[in-house]
Amino acid sequence: MKHYWEIYKKFVSTSISEATSFRLSFFLVAIMDIIFYLTTLFSVNFIFDHVQNIGPWDKNQLLFFISFMLAIDHLHMTTISESFWRFSDHIRTGSLDFLLLRPVHAIFSVFFSRFRAATVFNGIVAWGFLIYYGNQVNLPFLSWLLLPFMVLIGMNLLLVIEIILSTAMFWIVEGAGINFLRMQIQQLSRWPDFIFSKYTRRVLTLVIPISLVGTAPVQFLLDFKNYQYLLFLILFSFILWAFLLIWWNYAIQKYESASS
């Protein structure tokens, strides 16, 4: 574990050095994320000027959910999102060979090697909204304690689903389309499950459990009686990580290595 942590620190410092060399891009990435946060929150606010509730939730509950997803999005953008875009290039050009040769697990090497320094400070904005709306919904003390952990387990499920999907890039020549599909899967997770019809909800909970990413932790944080969702999330996370390890090893065997 210590070995991985030391390597990760090097990944982070290298990414920071690289990112700060292009200062305008660095600044624009931060601005882009803040615009995304604001437009998302304003959109929901505007809808609530016309209605009292959406499904079983009022304005503050839904905005707490949206803020929770923004916190996951911030963590995702900062720690892993860039690696997914590089992954398709690595496969197409054969530069994946060098990542596979490293003395760490290939999944770690591929998906955790790029750290987006530009968005680190946006965490203040994302978490600021989360804390504000957490306060508005009178989150109990225990929920406040569990909040960072819930963001992490939600993000963990999103991550494993995305890596499973991205592994399909081993079989196709141009992987950018898979990245767009991955982003659409993310979009589906950004809304609570009750907005979807019964059958869609089942698919998004039991087949591609993307709905659990935000809905399960937030339902639990708002009311501890809703623990079933959270159990599903934890169970699916274990199952999907186990599946991913098998799926990944199978995909590696199919890798044709364009550079060799």
Binding site: F22, L24, S25, L28, V29, I31, M32, I35, F36, T39, F42, S43, F46, I47, D49, H50, V51, I54, G55, I172, V173, E174, A176, G177, I178, F180, L181, M183, Q184, Q187, L188, W191, F194, I195, F196, S197, T200
Partner: protein
């Protein structure tokens, strides 16, 4: 000067671009149709959840049925008007591939404009298939052929504006390492302010008042209203967008001229 030879260059470039798009069909589908389809799917479910089955309820003057129709036309409009061309353009500048255009007897912008027309042809086919699907599912209601024709024409006009905007973001590759950031900022802002998220009537009145003085409503809200058969004066949108197009063309010209001075032809 327009000559047969010149037309042939455009035609051949369009054919090449079409072949390139068709080589990675699934990739193209996932990049172009996928996002718009999921965006529509979420909005469809969200508004169904908001209206909660109440067919009489009106929000911002829209019943559930008209709200869904608004978003269907929004989907069709996205297919007809919005390209994603700046991706290639920025990469070509950054990786030094534009060196070859500088010696071709065909301008850089002409090459990309011809590719854009080929891309529009693809989008047009997808839009027609989508339109047929929504029409036969009954979600779209009766079609007004006159409004449809006018809407398609207006959407093509808007697509030229989008091309000019995207061309400008692509040209920023002379100065920026990554131009996708600008493109995403532009898309988020435009989607939010143009009525792509929901009709402008849902926005607070003071924002609606401010938006009247910007080109944003003319990019999504107005064309959707045209498709929905509302009789609107087209002078204001056409003049406003034409003004912004002219500004965009001047901007692109200046960016290109200045950018070329900085160009280092990476890889040469």
């Amino acid at each position: 000067m327009i000559s047969l030879k010149w037309i042939d260059k455009w035609w051949q470039t369009m054919k090449t671009a079409w072949s390139n798009y068709m080589t990675y069909r699934y990739n193209l589908f996932l990049q172009v149709v996928g996002p718009a389809l999921v965006f529509f799917f979420i909005k469809y479910n969200l508004w169904n959840s908001i209206y909660d089955g109440d067919l009489e309820l009106e929000i911002g003057g829209y019943t559930l049925s008209s709200m869904i129709q608004y978003h269907i036309w929004g989907f069709i409009l996205t297919m007809l008007a919005k390209g994603h061309h700046a991706v290639d353009l920025g990469q070509e500048i950054r990786l030094g591939r534009i060196s070859s255009y500088l010696i071709y007897p065909f301008n850089f912008w002409e090459f990309h404009a011809a590719s854009f027309v080929a891309f529009q042809a693809y989008q047009f086919i997808v839009a027609l298939i989508s339109l047929a699907f929504f029409y036969y599912t009954g979600l779209l209601g009766p079609l007004n052929i006159e409004a449809l024709a006018l809407g398609i024409l207006y959407a093509q006009f808007i697509s030229i504006f989008w091309f000019i905007l995207q061309f400008a973001t692509g040209l920023m590759a002379f100065w920026l390492e990554e131009t996708w950031i600008l493109r995403v900022i532009l898309e988020i802002m435009t989607a939010f302010l143009s009525g792509a998220f929901f009709p402008l009537e849902i926005y607070p009145q003071f924002i609606q008042n401010i938006l009247q003085y910007t080109p944003f409503p003319y990019l999504t809200y107005y064309p959707i209203k045209i498709f929905m058969g509302e009789e609107l004066s087209l002078w204001a949108p056409i003049l406003t967008i034409s003004f912004w197009m002219a500004l965009g063309i001047i901007l692109n010209y200046l960016l290109w001229k200045r950018g070329l001075k900085l160009y280092t032809a990476a890889g040469m």
